[in-house]
């Protein structure tokens, strides 16, 4: 089930589950990964797994992530991803309101 983006804790938990699942596919146990750890540096995910995570985020949250937004600040950690998603939804909502008015 797609989590509501207004619930930061729920979004973070959902992303974390996905990260652990992607790591497990590579034979890596990422259950001890902290939400603030840089995923690539910790070895939890490699570059392809991060791209797979991006694809999952786009599908799950119905977003398009521009190439220029693929930065450590936006997607380096689980916390960063959750924050990015909230910002992205807020921007989308503001744009929608402008269109409506």
């Amino acid at each position: 089930m797609t989590p509501g983006l207004s619930d930061l804790a729920e979004v973070t938990r959902t992303i974390r589950e996905r990260v652990i699942a992607l790591a497990e596919r590579r034979g890596v146990d990422a259950r001890t990964l902290k939400n603030g750890d840089v995923m690539l540096e910790s070895g939890a995910l490699d570059s392809v797994a991060i791209l797979e995570l991006m694809m999952w985020i786009e599908m799950t949250f119905d977003l398009t992530i521009a190439q220029s937004e693929l930065t450590v600040d936006n997607f380096g950690t689980i916390d960063a991803i959750a924050g990015y998603l909230q910002r992205a939804v807020r921007l989308t909502s503001e744009n929608d309101r402008r269109v409506v008015s």
């Binding site: 690539l40 490699d46 570059s47 392809v48 791209l51 694809m55 190439q67 693929l70 930065t71």
Partner: protein, 368 residues
């Protein structure tokens, strides 16, 4: 003593062949296996080799003559002064070619006819003869036949220019003729300094503030630069010619679930390193989402593949169609050494060229 070299049978259906080229001249000393001439049938061209050593005494037919299989092509002697038997020259006289033309033969096949059923207006049955015959008889083609391929083995997907092979290249091709129309894969590998590459990648990632580790993209980019410097790496064999591609189109393998894609960065050697990485990342994302367009998976002229993420320490990749080299990157071994391998088409490249190419890739040169 003079001994004849006969025109060999190259195809069970062809009793006559056309002499295309003679690669020796009277007075030349030849050894067993030296290519002395090239002939063609309707289907392909073939080389003729000396089957015994000697000095070329005389070459009987002229270029473009139609010559009978089994006729004397040339005489070889133990010394340049050996006499050529006079009577034998008669067997080398050009013969009249009464076979249907190639186009006529195709039409006959298309309509399910034989050459004896169609009257010829000239020495050879022509396409016009067959067309007139089917018109008069009101015949229709048989069930849609597969068109004859324009290129032996299929036409390469990327543009390029055919070049005649050098004698040396022809020699290498000859050694692998058992598999003439398809790539003849060989494999070589070497060990290299993983730590040096890791440092380069880490520095680049930090400097460019990249989310993803650029190691594989940088190595692939390095391969494009190596290929740019050595166009032989981006060549293939089509028929009896080397087909040199116009561009370095870098294929990069991407595994998405159970599907393996070769995503293609077109004109990769013209891109800056940053442009290349961005383009490759975009293609990787599309591949993982199964959204690559046809042109993004077609026309690779050289390829890079890695199975390091699966901790595979050696893999021997299959050559993509019409390419001569695919570089294989693998996981480091327990002692920290990395292995770079290459599957190469031995019709196009020697093992030395393949190992030289991956040796160049293993060095972190020409990178920003």
């Amino acid at each position: 003593m003079a001994r004849p070299l006969h025109t060999p049978r190259v195809n069970t259906n062809d009793d006559i062949v056309r002499l295309l080229r003679v690669l020796v001249k009277p007075g030349d000393a030849v050894d067993v296996g030296v290519i002395v001439a090239e002939v063609e049938t309707d289907k392909a061209s073939f080389t003729i080799e000396a089957d015994h050593p000697g000095v070329v005494l005389a070459i009987l037919p002229q270029i473009n003559d139609m010559i009978a299989v089994g006729s004397v092509l040339l005489w070889l002697g133990t010394s340049p002064d050996d006499a050529v038997p006079e009577a034998s020259t008669a067997s080398a006289q050009p013969v009249a070619d009464s076979r249907p033309t190639v186009k006529a033969a195709q039409l006959l096949e298309q309509y399910g006819l034989t050459s004896t059923e169609v009257p010829a207006s000239g020495a050879r049955l022509s396409a016009q003869d067959v067309e007139a015959h089917v018109r008069v008889k009101g015949l229709s083609p048989l069930a849609a036949a597969q068109p004859r391929p324009e290129w032996p083995g299929g036409r390469p997907a990327a543009s390029g220019t055919p070049h005649a092979l050098t004698p040396e290249e022809r020699g290498m091709l000859r050694t692998v003729l058992w598999h003439r129309q398809e790539a003849v894969p060989g494999y070589v590998e070497l060990q290299y300094d993983v730590a040096a590459w890791d440092r380069v990648a880490a520095d680049y990632q930090k400097r460019e503030r990249l989310l993803l580790n650029p190691l594989l993209a940088l190595m692939a980019y390095r391969l494009t630069q190596v290929a740019k410097e050595n166009p032989r790496l981006t060549s293939t064999i089509v028929g009896d010619q080397r087909f040199r591609y116009d561009a370095v189109n870098l294929g990069f393998t991407v595994q998405s679930e159970t599907t393996l894609y070769v995503a293609v960065v077109e004109n990769a050697a013209t891109l800056t390193c940053a442009e290349f990485i961005e383009r490759l990342t975009t293609l990787q994302r599309k591949a993982l989402a199964h959204q690559l367009r046809w042109h993004e998976t077609s026309g690779a002229t050289i390829t890079f593949s890695s199975m390091a993420r699966w901790n595979v320490t050696r893999h021997i990749p299959v050559l993509p169609p019409h390419t001569a080299l695919i570089v294989a990157h693998a996981a480091s071994s327990a002692d920290g050494r990395g292995t770079l391998g290459a599957t190469y088409d031995h019709r196009v490249l020697t093992g030395f060229e393949a190992i030289s190419a991956i040796s160049a890739v293993s060095r972190q040169e020409s990178l920003p």
